[in-house]
């Protein structure tokens, strides 16, 4: 690949505006990417603080720090904030920064909508968090908000929660449309679909998933709103409604949602492993097909979250088999990553460490996922800490490690400075140890019989809960170090080269470091 580098256009200057208005009015994909990333970091810390409250309460049996009512508000907000405020906006931020640069486009296709889709997000989370101070407290029905606990029996703040989810949904849909339109229309000549970098592919598929399922979520919360305020009985059995219908609708959104949170991670990790193995990615086309199969299968497995609601035998069998099938394309991806490393020329910089940890720990989350797919065994696992361990393994050392890996990998391109490698490695090892000490014992606690969403527990679960809490605080504290490293890198550090990494491939490495405010105003030539 070769490219025309466009970074000396001082004759008609288009640098960023000065001051606060730069960020308020910006339509620049890099500015908006930065906004998304900082916003998600802030949410990550707030959601993390809530996790610390949860783990502190669970340090020992008995109620010590909070009351059950507040504990339920914490688990609800922790889940909502981490999913909708932490992981999803972080991936959108990365898409904003990287997709145009990777396909040789000057910006996102719909820059004004891009601005809007970011700037409504802070309001959504302001509304959600303000519910903590309302009479009756914040939403307390879990991030899955099953009716009728979230309708007839909910605190009054549920209406604000519904409004907030609507705004988040609108933001996600706009972001997704922008990604699709950009990728479909703005690829530089020569960047055919099957030549697109995998991160771009992963986001194209993710964006379609978002467009398909966010309206379903909006429908679910609107039906709740009708039940609460307008006398309908969608989910109210006493009025002829069906509480199980809520779960079907929710998980029809919810299962693709979990792939929305992992597909971009697949893309990121593919790039990083390729770079630091100094070897072309193994099985590019099978990677693409695997992601497509996972995305399609994600629409026919939702009821594996509902094995205990009393589905007929035929449905239980179908959803068990369909769920197990997802292991095949997921396996292909893992094998491809390992085959890429095989006979490579590997070095272990911080992004690579996070990427390797991703492959190992995500695969462990995949194993527990496979166990959960087995319906009869799921009767024992369902809604216990085994499930908590499973989804935290795929989300924390899965999605979140991939985001951290991406930050270390691309931050030299974003701000022109290298991060401090020694501190980066320290951050990795603290996070790696912290995450495993936190979540590995939760497998034991769950198998031994502790249900999730319990503010207090029987004595036989005491030992491993204590260990888990220690790990959680280690992990929590090490993220302060991450914040420090990022700020330090933005402020200064060793000047990065344009190529940054010896083995890196792709158009983003052909522009200067830091990337100029406008890149590829003339499309690069790609062979």
């Amino acid at each position: 690949m070769s490219a025309v580098i466009e970074n000396h256009h001082d004759d008609h200057h288009h640098g960023p505006a000065k001051g606060l208005t730069r960020w308020l009015y910006t339509t620049n994909h890099k500015d908006i990417g930065t906004l998304y990333l900082w916003f998600s970091f802030a949410m990550f810390l707030i959601g993390g603080a809530m996790a610390m409250v949860i783990r502190a309460e669970l340090f020992q049996p008995g109620m010590q720090i909070v009351q059950p009512e507040f504990y339920n508000q914490m688990i609800t907000l922790h889940g909502l904030i981490m999913i909708f405020g932490g992981v999803m906006p972080a991936f959108v931020g990365l898409a904003n920064w990287l997709v145009p640069m990777m396909i040789g486009a000057p910006d996102m296709a719909l820059p004004r909508m891009n601005n809007l889709s970011f700037w409504i997000l802070p309001f959504a989370f302001f509304i959600l968090l303000s519910s903590l101070f309302m009479e009756g407290g914040a939403p307390n029905f879990g991030w899955t908000f099953y009716a009728p606990l979230s309708t007839t029996y909910a605190p009054p703040s549920v209406t604000f929660f519904i409004f907030s989810v609507h705004i988040m949904g609108a933001s996600s849909i706009m972001g997704a449309i922008n990604v699709v339109v950009t990728i479909m229309n703005m690829r530089a000549p020569g960047v055919t679909l099957m030549k697109m970098p995998l991160f771009v592919w992963s986001w194209l598929i993710t964006a379609y998933l978002l467009i398909a399922v966010m309206p379903v979520l909006a429908g679910a919360v609107t039906m709740m709103l009708m039940d609460i305020h307008f006398g309908t009985s969608f989910f109210n059995a006493a009025g002829g409604g069906d509480p199980v219908l809520f779960q079907h609708i929710f998980w029809f959104f919810g299962h693709p949602e979990v792939y929305i949170m992992i597909l971009p991670a697949f893309g990121i990790v593919s790039h990083i492993i390729e770079t630091f193995s100094r070897k072309q990615l193994f099985g590019y086309s099978s990677m693409v097909w695997a992601m497509l199969s996972i995305a399609i299968l994600s629409f026919v497995v939702w009821a594996h979250h509902m094995f205990t609601v009393g589905l007929p035998l035929a449905a239980e069998l179908f959803f068990m088999w369909a769920t197990m099938l997802i292991a095949v394309p997921t396996g292909v991806k893992v094998f491809n990553w390992i085959a890429t490393m095989f006979k490579g020329s590997i070095t272990f910089e911080t992004p690579m460490l996070f990427a390797i940890a991703f492959v190992v720990l995500f695969t462990m989350g995949g194993f527990s996922g496979l166990m959960l797919a087995i319906t009869p065994a799921d009767f024992q696992y369902h809604d216990t800490y085994f499930v908590v361990a499973h989804f935290h393994y795929v989300l924390v050392p899965g999605a979140i490690f991939s985001i951290m890996a991406a930050v270390y990998y691309w931050i030299p391109k974003w701000c022109g400075n290298m991060y401090d490698e020694r501190l980066g490695k320290l951050h990795f090892w603290l996070s790696f140890i912290g995450v495993n000490v936190t979540f590995f014992p939760q497998h034991f606690i769950g198998l031994a019989g502790m249900p999730r969403r319990y503010p207090d527990y029987a004595l036989q679960f005491a030992d491993w809960n204590m260990v888990s809490t220690v790990g959680a605080f280690l992990f929590g504290v090490s993220q302060i170090l991450f914040l420090f490293i990022v700020v330090k890198t933005v402020m200064g550090g060793k000047q990065a080269t344009d190529q940054v990494w010896e083995g890196a491939r792709g158009l983003e490495w052909t522009v200067a470091s830091p990337a100029p405010y406008h890149t590829f105003t003339t499309p690069p030539k790609v062979d």
């Binding site: 009869p376 031994a448 249900p451």
Partner: protein, 381 residues
């Protein structure tokens, strides 16, 4: 003043430390699922272990190759990377082999599932109803019915006294079933969704308002088995355990006749002449079990969600509406009908709320006797 406060704080800290330093039963080895007490639970355990070991085996192979690469293919040892980037044979192999392994897992899993879904009638049918936050059990053949509440002391939960061995796993009334008989549970709920989980029987079935789910078991060994609610159902989700006592048939029969006698005695109480003091004394315990979670010990409720009873206009002055709310619940709110309580319990608890927290002096002071409830229940023309 501040000195006294510090002194109190100091005492609190010391007592807290004393309780924490009591050695708890160490359970570092509570690592795995247990076999449970039925054929099905054993089968589920075998299935769990089978999949676990398959996953371990795959993990050893896959991570083995990966760690080997990380060791042998570093830049130092292998300065120039190989250039291969696809191999169709290998790729087809690692698509088909996992597929075959999955089929090998799916066959025993499907067989066990079919067994669990056996729909034949049981020797004994028990209707299980979830409430916020307790379970009700109705023995359909034996005409026995009761509620089962957590019996752990609040002081244990609040760390004021040491915790007992069955902390949060004990109830005031256990479900009793006979050994070796096929028992069917018909599971439903009265308010929000709950889930009835008994690990030793490998039963976890959601209790959903408007639905009746079924599950069955046949337990071969007498004993006491403990389970929990596993669907978030509000504030006290963690405090509504399940305890099943499996006994010999003769012991079960005795238990049934004992329960029936107690029910008859209760019925007699309805016609007795009650004084306000007797009703208040009885009502206090009914309140403690059924009402205190929402309306609180001091009758103040929780602002914004659960209304206060102390000073409530209905409790002070409107006896008829007071009875109606208890019998019918409040549409669209967390207050459910409590018509399943006995006439005596209802009369006692209403009287208690009308005679406590200063209500006795601020309202009409009227008491409710069991006959009022009986009259309410009579068909209105």
């Amino acid at each position: 003043m501040s000195f006294k406060y510090l002194h109190n704080l100091q005492n609190k800290i010391i007592s807290a430390l004393l309780i924490f330093s009591v050695p708890m039963k160490a359970d570092w080895f509570a690592l795995n699922m247990t076999r449970g007490a039925t054929d099905i639970s054993n089968e589920v355990f075998e299935l769990h272990m089978l999949i676990f070991w398959i996953c371990v085996a795959i993990g050893v192979v896959v991570f083995g190759v990966m760690f080997y690469s990380m060791y042998a293919h570093t830049k130092k040892k292998n300065p120039v990377a190989a250039t291969f980037h696809e191999n169709h044979k290998v790729e087809i192999a690692w698509t088909i082999i996992p597929f075959l392994i999955l089929i090998a897992m799916a066959i025993p899993a499907s067989k066990t599932l079919v067994k669990i879904y056996d729909d034949e009638a049981g020797d004994l049918n028990i209707q299980v109803t979830g409430y916020q936050w307790k379970w009700q059990y109705n023995y359909l053949e034996d005409d026995v019915s009761f509620f089962s509440n957590l019996s752990t002391d609040m002081d244990e939960i609040n760390n004021l006294v040491p915790k007992g061995e069955n902390y949060l796993q004990e109830v005031d009334e256990m479900v009793v079933i006979p050994v070796g008989k096929k028992v069917r549970f018909l599971i439903t709920a009265n308010d929000v969704i709950h889930s009835w989980w008994m690990p030793a029987f490998a039963i976890k079935q959601d209790a959903i308002p408007g639905f009746v789910n079924t599950a069955w078991t046949k337990v071969d060994k007498p004993g006491i088995y403990r389970g929990k609610c596993t669907e978030l159902c509000g504030k006290n989700h963690g405090f509504m355990p399940i305890v099943v006592k499996v006994v010999e048939q003769s012991e079960y029969d005795e238990w049934v006749s004992g329960k029936r006698e107690a029910a008859m005695k209760m019925a007699e109480l309805t016609t007795k002449d009650w004084t306000a003091e007797e009703l208040v004394a009885r009502g206090e315990s009914v309140y403690a079990v059924n009402c205190v979670a929402c309306h609180q010990t001091n009758g103040q409720g929780i602002s914004g969600i659960f209304p206060a009873l102390a000073g409530s206009d209905i409790v002070l002055n409107d006896k008829e509406r007071n009875i109606e709310i208890l019998m019918e619940g409040v549409q669209g709110a967390a207050m459910n009908s409590f018509s399943y309580l006995s006439e005596v319990e209802l009369a006692a608890v209403i009287t208690y709320t009308r005679q406590s927290w200063g209500n006795e002096n601020n309202g009409d002071g009227e008491i409710v006797v069991p006959k009022d409830i009986v009259d309410y229940k009579k068909p209105k023309i």
